[in-house]
């Protein structure tokens, strides 16, 4: 039947998608809470907030969640709709490239490269 390689991937991806979704929802809720609590939110406060190491780490996890969630979703879409192997691989390279780019960029945004 087809070319299915037996692996744990199906299960792991299923779990990652759900865990990352839960984490993203919690993170967004937390950020929104901060925004609503601080009536006069300004750049200073935001900068202070994001200079805290725990916030930076949690934000980094948020980025990783988005990117892994996105990758799994995009991979599934491609394996549903793109039948041509060359086009599909090309698409994977492009998406993976983008994801890596976002990863590096977000690290730079969070920690800054002096």
């Amino acid at each position: 039947m087809g070319s299915i390689v037996k692996s744990n991937r199906g299960y792991i991806e299923f779990v990652i998608q759900r865990l990352s979704a839960i984490y993203m929802a919690l993170y967004v809720l937390a950020i929104l809470t901060v925004i609503f609590i601080n009536k006069d939110l300004d750049f200073e406060i935001i900068q202070d907030l994001f200079s805290l190491m725990p916030v930076r780490i949690l934000t980094f996890f948020f980025i990783v969640s988005i990117l892994s969630h996105g990758w799994i979703g995009m991979w599934i879409i491609a394996t549903d709709y793109i039948n041509n192997a060359f086009l599909r691989n090309l698409y994977f390279v492009l998406v993976m490239g983008m994801i890596l780019f976002y990863l590096v960029w977000s690290i730079e945004v969070i920690w800054g490269f002096e």
Binding site: M1, G2, S3, I4, V5, K6, S7, N8, R9, G10, Y11, E13, F14, V15, I76, T79, D80, Y81
Partner: protein
């Protein structure tokens, strides 16, 4: 006097033997509305009275053999238990979607049957065979309800987009319903093996829970629930 009514049919036609293309053919059938006519009865009459070349499968004509699943006004169903009275006066009939058409309303179900066979749809029990029956409590037996009644008509699987895109890799609702039937059978001792066999990104996890299968099942079964149970059992064994 019998009350007569007219039905207009538009039926998908294709015969690789002499047709160059696929087309919809129109038929008009008069029938007595007092009669409790099912769609299959109407198709039989079209074949007998109007066009002997129209091809479709049928057998039990009471909804248990699963031969005459087709796409009726856009929705998959069994012709033999679809009353004409439940349909509009214009009826469009096409073969089940997502499978190669052999001729007219007859599709090639090979891949559907292969996916069924793939889930090892038979009891595996490695204990010594007892002299009498293996005991099963009524509660354990009840777990098989909603599974064993499947008639393999293919209405659910061919209504599933995930199956359309990956018919060779995604087992599809009908096959997975049977996979779960043996997973939940208290007499079966190969649950772990069954779950491992389905462990990949396609076989089970392509189900996106859109529940087309539940909507079309002529036996009112719920494959989505069964698929979710398989996923749940997979989480348990980790």
């Amino acid at each position: 006097m019998a009350k007569v009514n007219k039905l207009e049919f538009s039926i998908y036609r294709y015969n690789p033997d002499d047709d160059k293309s696929v087309y919809m053919q129109d038929y008009t059938l008069e029938f007595d509305i007092e009669q409790n006519l099912m769609l299959l009865g109407a198709l039989e009459r079209i074949k007998d009275e109007l066009d002997p070349t129209l091809s479709f499968r049928r057998s039990c004509r009471e909804g248990v053999c699963g031969s005459d699943a087709m796409n009726i006004n856009g929705k998959n169903g069994l012709a033999c238990i679809t009353p004409i009275s439940s349909l509009p006066r214009k009826i469009a009939i096409r073969p089940l979607p997502g499978l190669p058409v052999v001729r007219d309303l007859v599709v090639d179900l090979e891949i559907f049957y292969k996916q069924y066979a793939r889930v090892k749809p038979y009891l595996i029990n490695r204990q010594p065979t007892p002299k009498k029956e293996r005991l099963q409590s009524p509660e354990d037996r009840k777990k098989l309800n909603g599974h064993y009644e499947c008639i393999l008509c293919g209405a659910c699987t061919t209504a599933c987009p995930s199956f359309w895109w990956n018919p060779d890799k995604f087992v599809g609702p009908a096959g997975l319903l049977q996979a779960n039937r043996f997973i939940v059978d208290s007499r079966d001792d190969a649950e772990l093996e069954r779950l491992q066999d389905l462990q990949d990104p396609f076989s089970v996890f392509r189900c996106r829970t859109i529940m087309n299968c539940v909507e079309v099942c002529p036996k009112k079964l719920n494959p989505t629930k069964a698929i979710n149970n398989i996923k749940k059992e997979m989480l348990k064994i980790k």
